[in-house]
Point group: C2
Chain length 320, copies 2
Amino acid sequence: MPSEFELIARHFARPTPRTLLGPGDDCALLAPSPGMALAVTTDMLVEGTHFLPATDPRLLGWKALAVNLSDLAAMGATPRWAFLAGSLPAARDDWLAAFADGLFACAGRHGVDLAGGDTTRGPLNLCLTAIGEVPAGTALRRDGAMPGDDLWVSGQPGLAALGLAHLQQRTRLPDELAARCVNALQNPWPRIELGLALRERGLARAAIDVSDGLLADLGHLLQRSRLAGRVSLAALPPLPAVADPALARQCQLAGGDDYELAFAAPPAKRGELAALALELALPLWRCGETCAGEGGTLTVWDAHGKAVAVNERGFDHFGH
Amino acid sequence: MPSEFELIARHFARPTPRTLLGPGDDCALLAPSPGMALAVTTDMLVEGTHFLPATDPRLLGWKALAVNLSDLAAMGATPRWAFLAGSLPAARDDWLAAFADGLFACAGRHGVDLAGGDTTRGPLNLCLTAIGEVPAGTALRRDGAMPGDDLWVSGQPGLAALGLAHLQQRTRLPDELAARCVNALQNPWPRIELGLALRERGLARAAIDVSDGLLADLGHLLQRSRLAGRVSLAALPPLPAVADPALARQCQLAGGDDYELAFAAPPAKRGELAALALELALPLWRCGETCAGEGGTLTVWDAHGKAVAVNERGFDHFGH
């Protein structure tokens, strides 16, 4: 059986052209670009909590990095480096090879060096840390929204949660929709270009990535900005045609794992945002607005202008 | 039951004076100092693999950060920021409070901001990422040793492994020694000052921290430097007086977890290194030398000048 060091060398030691010193020493050495702040994020993915045991390791490799890059996207940062720490029940060469393929596909697509890491034995757990660069003082934070800003969300939040419900046989989706939803769950595409454009063009005042669920993450943004907000169901993307529309609505409002961006932008930017959506071929939905009020309070309105009681505000790993 | 967000806020959101933007957003924002390279390391600690289930959470918090700072020490870097990702079987408030106390004690002692992290549910697993600064081009790497360099090690490697053997009742140590060894295991002190002095004064050409075991880690250093080496048992620290000297020797040569530094230095630096040992009140043992030969090959000599067969070359998480 190959040793830990041999396995790591075989699968994870690839060229790191943007790194002073890559894997193989006590630390990696990075050279930040002058004038840049570093955006750093870390996410832990646990088998059974964040992904199903049977998940294709190639897709898992992609996703493990993609969810971190999504956090960089939400700051408007350019991805540069990633670090992988993983514990595995046993050293499975084919599993590692497929996982590495997925990880490096995502890294290569986004110009990221895997600059270091750690491998050990234990229940399957993957911890990625990603580092990006953003000009100092320009990052898209959660706390910059102003009263009267529009609230926007990209893409079609909720598909990933519907895909999970389908895989867990809590619902039965038509084949084509099932494929689309499972793909949203397993192969999320971090919205790097959107985050960069929002920051560089000064279009958004605050942003967050939708990982816990749309309402929960809008709530986090509003709380950090000390504002309340309103979301209109009629302004969200149309629900997919499914047998259980209530489930589809719940997935849209409370499903995480799509890794879309939600953001606050001044009304004066509506035209530029509509043009950006066309440019990126990515729908942008103006779904609500901010207002003065208790920080983090979000009310949801139906198509008839009535407040809707919503008790599924997203996924919280410990609370209920 | 408090939510995940409340638990994190309660225990881990402390002031981060050296950080542009600390916990609570999608990413932390750091401002690297001009002219500095960043040294980055990540380590994963798994219950049952790296620590015993009954470990005092305060000691675990200290150690989880200390082992990462040890990697920074081995590069001669100044610690700046840390990120914690953890999975826990359940949200235990008292456990988190004690763990945070230990972690912040280590962070405060070494000037480190806990700048961000992630908390989730799963088998107990702690992943720390630490970032330090080092003037570009001056870091102590593993690959800088030259033929004829002395090999050195700090402190008393092996005590931590003896402490573990005592806790696991594989041996029975006298009370005072047991306390010292268990302390070495549970409360390691990263050799930051030593690493900084070695780099700033140009005393070492290559360094590594002893986490896998003295022979294994010297082997890693030699392999990266494409050199062979010799270690003399008579030049290592005297073994503690125990009933099982063979176990003590095995712990010294192959026990990890002491987080001492091993390094290669030119013979011309012996005087300065002796003075540094006095200055830091930390023994430095000149235990061997490098030589031309197959990269990574280490021979061990006994007090009579005979080569010793050694088959315990340290801890490898997967191979055996």
